[in-house]
């Protein structure tokens, strides 16, 4: 079926089978390979993207379902050449090692902070249990997200 996806403000006209997941469409048809696929059954969260303002598992949505809603991926997190405060914080706090889970964690954390910039540390930490990281033991990720939250608040974001 022919679809139009709106990803990071750009329009992608693609043709896929109905069974094609949003994750596969983003990666294969739209060529945005920053979104990763780790389990395809909704547990690991590597494929997390923001659809209509909510972080979702893009392996648990069919591409056709995302038509008409703005989609954001890691490629659209920061302006070209720049870094989102979360990206800066992940680098500063060693929130990544192999980098495979990182885009999913960034989009998860971005959606949480956008919805509630004043989320408590405990709530932020809790929200991060949605995704799996196999490398870091999570400490760097927690520290990064808490630091980014502070940075974004102090910028009045």
């Amino acid at each position: 079926m022919k679809l139009t996806l709106d990803i990071n403000g750009a329009t992608y006209r693609i043709e896929v089978e109905a069974r094609h997941t949003l994750a596969d469409a983003i990666r294969q048809e739209c060529g945005l390979t920053g979104t990763h696929v780790g389990c395809e059954h909704g547990i690991c969260g590597a494929c997390t993207v923001i659809v209509g303002g909510e972080a979702v598992r893009s392996c648990l949505m069919f591409a056709v379902q995302a038509e008409g809603q703005p989609i954001r991926t890691v490629e659209g997190l920061a302006p070209p050449g720049g870094f989102h405060p979360l990206q800066t914080a992940f680098m500063a706090h060693h929130g990544l090692q192999c980098g495979f889970c990182t885009p999913g964690f960034l989009m998860l954390a971005a959606s949480v902070l956008e919805r509630d910039p004043h989320a408590s540390d405990a709530a932020l930490r809790d929200s991060l249990s949605a995704n799996l990281c196999r490398c870091t033991g999570y400490q760097g990720i927690i520290d990064a997200v808490l630091a980014a939250a502070r940075a974004m608040r102090s910028k009045g974001g």
Binding site: H20, H36, M91, L96, F100
Partner: protein, 765 residues
């Protein structure tokens, strides 16, 4: 200015990765997608394979001439076992690749794979090592008598006599259930045939690109020059991506056969049932102690379930042989006897996973020490104070030489961080209130950065060890370092750049570390066994020194000074004590374009190889847990690591390695378990069944560093990639047992699931 090494500089790898600009294998488009048809029975004989009409499906008959995988070692009664790259008439575990489907999309390939009818006459499977090793067990493979593929033993001369004379003998049997390393990126491969050069480029999730090229070329009977292997960004490996995937061989064969590009990405279910497993081990240890609780003699018996096949290059013997050599760990014991065996079964093959056998060995030794402490009526730390090795170099009863470390000092540091004496008071108060806290220690040493002599002792056909690094400063003054190691998340590019920067007087950002491409890097072994920082780091230092010498010679000519009076720093060569400088970039340009002026060879490209004996790092892990005796849930209140990995090149990266390893170790102790039914059906085939920890299961890990500088490692750095995973399980298990002590309950099998803790409590009444 101070050197770059030793500073927690931010990683050079990160800007691309946080922007989603990493290049992972599965990102590559291909003409065809590949899916493997896998056995659904654990043991049997294939009668027929019937693909649907019109489908492109290949079996081993089509791959005639492709040799079976057959890694070899020439010691310990090892019986070589073969693995055809697709099943050749016999299936040996659920997940065994039987046929390969080629289609236009992953989904279409899976549709076809589902329709391939594989008729199998099922046989009775053997699924665990105890059954396999029992007398009269059905043979998993006709060529392996008694199902024992490797058996080795050691006994020191005075062992028997020492046991007969000792004061007290303490026995301990532990079981480590099967694990899957579970990197978040599943295995993947992309093979592209180039009609112009007649070469195939294999891009794959591997920790060992050069070794992959060698073995795949061997199996296909082609020249290595006709195959290029690329390990791009790799999404974690932990050992699982060090061994040869038979699927890789099939992919290269397909690319050559079809003269196009083909790609395969395993799904999570395949990864969990048919990649590689590890740590399926039973261990019995007996310690003979004198009246002062000093260990006099140690006896060990280890049985490992190695699965159906022998992974290349390590063979099926890696866990048993690691056990034989390293069971005594950090303890001083003069007399040692041990028998280790590996049993083949109808389960997925076992291969190295971060720590290789040592998480289970450490569990056995640390449980032994805690049991002995209880029998002697002393604290766990007291018995360790009497038994840890404190004089170096120390030659272990198994013949290993331990270079200087801080086995006792790290434990004391951990104890003081935990305020262990006051914990006992707190524990008593909590118990009175019906809350059960426990403290657990795990002390261990870890052989890291070992070169070819250590591997040669195993008698392997393939003897890894050394690493080569080629460093070239180009005419603009930028540096490229080409390495045979193959990092996949460790931050090695940054750490090597720090080492090289200090030699060449440039910033780490000026150094590009190139790895993971057999066309573009010197032959090397890859990244595994806590070796890359030590060995590739040592080679980087040696190569950088060569480049440095040339730069100094050129600078001496250009500054009209003695090379001994010149230092390289901050991008310039300077005559010490003066302000006379010349930019290093100017020296670089001159070395190529004004070479006639200098007595050294033109250019600034140098190569060096490093093949060290190895160095032992050490640590003490300390866990404080609470066991909810109603629900049998365990929560970790504190987790402390005091460790010694020698000189820290990048402390931020070091802490990340420790934390990541500890998280895997905690999961090993509490959550993760690959379960098979007696019929050989794997039950742990999704992330809803194989339980990786989330942020909520992993506590904040407190870390202290001691830095022993007296090490044979020329950078003074020791390896540390595996230590977290080695030490953490025993600390958690000891803490659980300490918590359960009032009930007289003991648990020596991990993971300590609610069901096992519940059973232990019921058994204790």
């Amino acid at each position: 200015m101070m050197g770059w090494a030793g500073r927690p500089i931010l990683r050079l790898e990160d800007p691309a990765l946080v922007r989603g600009q990493g290049h992972f294998t599965a990102d590559l488009p291909a003409r065809f997608r590949v899916r493997f048809v896998r056995s659904v029975v654990a043991a049997g004989r294939i009668v027929r394979i019937m693909p649907p009409d019109g489908a492109t499906v290949f079996t081993i008959a089509d791959l005639a001439g492709v040799k079976p995988i057959r890694p070899m070692l020439h010691k310990f009664g090892y019986i070589p076992i073969e693995q055809p790259v697709l099943a050749d008439g016999i299936v040996r575990y659920v997940g065994d690749p039987v046929a390969v489907v080629v289609a236009d999309s992953d989904a279409a390939a899976e549709d076809i794979a589902d329709q391939v009818e594989v008729e199998i006459i099922a046989a009775a499977p053997v699924t665990n090592a105890r059954d396999a090793a029992a007398p009269g067990a059905p043979l998993v493979r006709a060529e392996v008598p008694g199902n024992i593929v490797v058996e080795a033993a050691i006994e020191t001369a005075g062992h028997r006599l020492a046991i007969s004379r000792t004061h007290r003998v303490v026995a301990c049997s532990v079981r480590s259930n099967r694990q899957n390393a579970s990197p978040l990126e599943p295995r993947a491969a992309h093979a592209a045939f180039d009609p112009a050069s007649w070469r195939v480029t294999l891009t794959a999730t591997t920790q060992t690109p050069h070794m992959m090229r060698t073995v795949i070329a061997d199996l296909l009977g082609i020249r290595e020059a006709d195959l290029r292997v690329i390990a791009p960004d790799v999404g974690g490996g932990f050992g699982q991506k060090m061994s040869l995937a038979p699927e890789f061989v099939v992919l290269v064969w397909l690319a050559r056969h079809l003269r196009t590009s083909v790609a395969w990405t395993e799904d999570r279910r395949e990864n969990l049932m048919a990649s590689f497993h590890a740590r399926d081990m039973d261990l019995s240890v007996t310690g003979a102690f004198d009246a002062g609780a000093k260990l006099i003699a140690l006896t060990g018996e280890v049985l490992a379930n190695v699965g159906a096949y022998a992974p290349y290059p390590n063979t099926a013997a890696v866990e048993p042989l690691m056990s034989l050599a390293e069971l005594p760990g950090p303890y001083d014991v003069a007399e040692y006897a041990c028998r280790v065996r590996g049993a083949v079964t109808n389960t997925c093959s076992s291969a190295p996973y971060r720590g290789v056998a040592r998480p289970a060995l450490t569990l056995a030794m640390e449980r032994l020490m805690d049991k002995a402490a209880r029998e002697f009526g002393i604290e766990p730390w007291d018995i360790r104070r009497r038994n840890l090795v404190t004089r170096f170099p120390y030659v272990s009863a198994s013949g290993l030489t331990y270079d200087p470390g801080t086995y006792l000092e790290t434990m004391e540091r951990a104890l003081s961080m935990a305020d262990a004496p006051s914990f006992r008071a707190r524990q008593a108060v909590a118990r009175a209130a019906g809350r059960y806290l426990g403290i657990g220690l795990s002390t261990f040493c870890e052989r890291t950065g070992y070169g070819s002599p250590a591997f040669a002792a195993r008698g392997m056909d393939v003897t890894p060890g050394w690493e080569t690094v080629r460093i070239a400063m180009d005419p603009s003054g930028a540096v490229e370092a080409r390495i045979g190691a193959s990092p996949h998340g460790q931050g090695l590019e940054t750490a090597l750049a720090q080492i090289i920067a200090d030699e060449l007087g440039v910033t780490p950002e000026a150094i590009r570390v190139i790895h993971g491409d057999t066309d573009d890097t010197p032959y090397g072994w890859g990244t595994f066994a806590s070796r890359s920082l030590v060995i590739a780091g040592g080679a980087s230092l040696l190569a950088a020194r060569k480049v440095r010498r040339k730069l100094l010679a050129i600078a001496a000519t250009m500054l009209e000074a003695d090379a001994a009076d010149i230092m390289l720093d901050d991008g310039a060569a300077r005559i010490v004590g003066t302000d006379r400088t010349i930019p290093i970039a100017t020296l670089a340009r001159a070395s190529y374009h004004q070479a006639h002026r200098f007595e050294v060879e033109p250019g600034l490209a140098e190569s060096a190889t490093y093949d060290p004996a190895g160095t032992f790092s050490n640590a003490c892990h300390l866990a404080i847990v609470e066991v909810d005796v109603e629900t049998c849930a365990v929560s970790i209140e504190r987790f402390i690591v005091a460790e010694d990995a020698g000189r820290l090149i990048n402390p931020m990266i070091v802490d990340g390695q420790i934390r990541g390893g500890v998280a895997q170790g905690i999961a090993n102790a509490l959550l993760e378990e690959v379960v098979y039914t007696d019929a050989g059906d794997p039950l742990s085939t999704s992330f809803a069944d194989f339980l990786l920890p989330t942020v909520r299961e992993i506590p904040r890990i407190e870390i202290a560093h001691l830095q022993t500088s007296a090490t044979p490692s020329i950078t003074a750095a020791k390896g540390l990639g595996e230590g977290g995973a080695i030490g953490a399980p025993a600390a958690v298990m000891n803490a659980i047992n300490d918590a359960l002590a009032p009930f007289g309950a003991e648990i020596d099998e991990m993971p300590a699931t609610p069901a096992r803790i519940h059973a232990a409590l019921r058994e204790a009444g």
